[in-house]
Amino acid sequence: MKAFFLALLKSRAGLFGFLLVSVFVLAAILAPYLGLPVPTRSNLLARMVAPTWTGLFSPGAHPLGTDELGRDILSRIVHGSRITLAIAAAAVILGGIVGTLLGIVAGYYRGMVDRVLMRIVDIQLALPLMLLALLVVAALGPSTRNLVIVLALTSWLRYARIIRGQVLALREREFILSAHAIGAGTWRIMLKHLLPNVMTPALVIATLELARIIIMDAALSFLGLGVQPPNPSWGRMLADGRVYISTAWWIVTFPGIAILLTVLSVNLLGDWLRDHFDPKLRTMR
């Protein structure tokens, strides 16, 4: 752990990403205690107020302006990050668990199981992720739970393919062969011997997937299929603000910058994790 942080300190990009991610996560967790205006309370007397940075700490200040219903944009972005990050994290964890386990099973059993699984991966690769997501959300109905399921569904195969490749190599190693020899069961070998050895690549993929999923979540919300109003979500704010683009540029600008900075910092952290733990993954996506 100490060596990990020492290495992180040496990389400017990695450290920057790590710090920025930490700030965003903290802001998301602490959002209700930051003294921000209520994100869903509209104020028709203060509609589309331009950003002002004088008197920042006086009540009623709107450093990033207000939207078409007079709601504070900064507060909506910070509260929106709670929902966005929670959905993205849940989807990454769900997709990661399913993908990693299927990858281990395919790589360990090989044969028929492996062939069937890899064909399913091929089928899903041929189906554009966005269309799959649109179709499934339209079928299941837009809700937070369904959004997590859809995002995980677009994600599992990236783990499955890479982990499978790693397990194919691992299963011929001495420690697996000797586990066999002393009579360890299949599940024991997969969970106690293979799983710990593929955790690092799984973690690296998870970080990079987190960035992709945040963008995809925003895109789905943008198309009206994400978190439902009045709850703030970054993609929804973009979609609503787009209508007022010629009169109030700030409504549509700031949520986008929030997405950009979040994805950038997660990507920086993920790139560093990958280079630190497993440079070979670089060209394997």
Binding site: R119, I120, D122, I123, L125, A126, L127, P128, M130, L131, L134, L135, V136, A138, A139, L140, A211, I215, A218, A219, F222, L223, L238, R242, I245, S246, W249, V252, T253, P255, G256, I259, L260, L261, V263, L264, N267, L268, R282, T283, R285
Partner: protein
């Protein structure tokens, strides 16, 4: 080689069948198109008659078999909304989508390749730093937001280009630029790391040691090998873009394949959903087959397998 191709072809057909099957069953959960097609308050008899005429009253497995057998013959059914063959409805949108995809691929690949090569060859200089920062920003920017920002600056403020629609070169500039940024950022980063990996190989050192010109070493020994992962990525991006980028088409009111499929999903127009998704999947698979063949051209070791 022939055996390899036949195998690949069989895999591709299997994948298309899988896509069609998934889409068939997922789309049946969307709801009852008869309710959407008839005016509010239509009687039960009218609903039943319409369902029967669309074939929606039969058991679901029978509907599935009928539509798969029809698809094998190239018949994707009649669009519920447009009352025309579903595949025609989708194919009409193809040129518009292909124009945008082609523009983005052409400029995105050119810019990305030059930037990636500069970053790898000028390692540790300010040029590498600028390219990498730009590429990181480009990859982290949600494309639809970038599109909106470009509309804000170039359409609303400066009034240079239309905010949406298609038809002229002026309409193509902003959506093309938006997608190019995304394409070039991915390609620049991948090409850079791929080049840096290959430059460390023993055979590159050997080539330098035997006195080959640096240019020869770069084009014949380094670039050829470094291009393989890049071409894989171009193939994947091309497949995705040719399937129509739903969000970008929405932002720029670009009447492409992505939007027609999305509208079909909203209208529960099953034949158009199926025709659209089957077409998009087929394009993706064909593009990736071409990429597989290109590997053989670049790397003789693959050709012999």
């Amino acid at each position: 080689m022939t055996r390899y191709l036949v195998g690949k072809l069989a895999e591709s057909l299997l994948a298309i069948w899988g896509v069609v099957t998934i889409v068939f069953f997922v789309s049946r959960v969307l709801g009852d198109p008869a309710v959407l097609l008839l005016p509010v308050g239509a009687g039960q008899q009218d609903l039943d008659a319409l369902r029967a005429s669309l074939g929606l009253d039969r058991p679901i497995l029978e509907q599935y078999l009928i539509s798969v057998l029809a698809m094998v013959r190239g018949d994707f059914g009649i669009s519920f909304q447009h009352q025309r063959p579903a595949m025609d409805v989708v194919l009409e949108r193809m040129p518009v989508t292909a124009t945008l995809a082609g523009t983005a691929l052409l400029f995105g690949t050119l810019i990305g390749a030059v930037a990636g090569a500069i970053a790898a060859l000028k390692r540790g200089t300010i040029s590498e730093f600028i390219v990498m920062v730009a590429a990181l920003l480009g990859q982290a920017t949600p494309v639809f937001w970038l599109g909106i920002m470009l509309i804000l600056v170039f359409s609303v403020d400066l009034g240079w280009f239309p905010t949406g629609g298609s038809g002229t070169i002026a309409h193509l500039v902003l959506p093309g630029l938006t997608l190019s940024v995304f394409v070039s950022a991915s390609i620049a980063r991948l090409l850079r790391s791929s080049l840096l990996d290959i430059m460390r190989e023993d055979y590159v050192r050997t080539a330098r040691a035997k006195g080959l010109l640096p240019r020869t070493v770069f084009f014949w020994h380094i670039a050829r090998n470094a291009l393989i992962p890049v071409i894989t990525m171009i193939g994947i991006i091309a497949g995705e873009l040719l399937g129509g980028s739903v969000v970008i088409e929405t932002v720029f009111a670009w009447p492409g394949v992505g939007r027609i499929i999305m509208q079909a999903i909203q209208a529960q127009d099953f034949p158009v959903i199926q025709a659209g998704v089957a077409l998009v999947a087929a394009i993706f698979i064909v593009v990736n087959l071409l990429v597989d063949l290109l590997y053989g051209v670049l790397d003789p070791r693959i050709r012999r397998r």
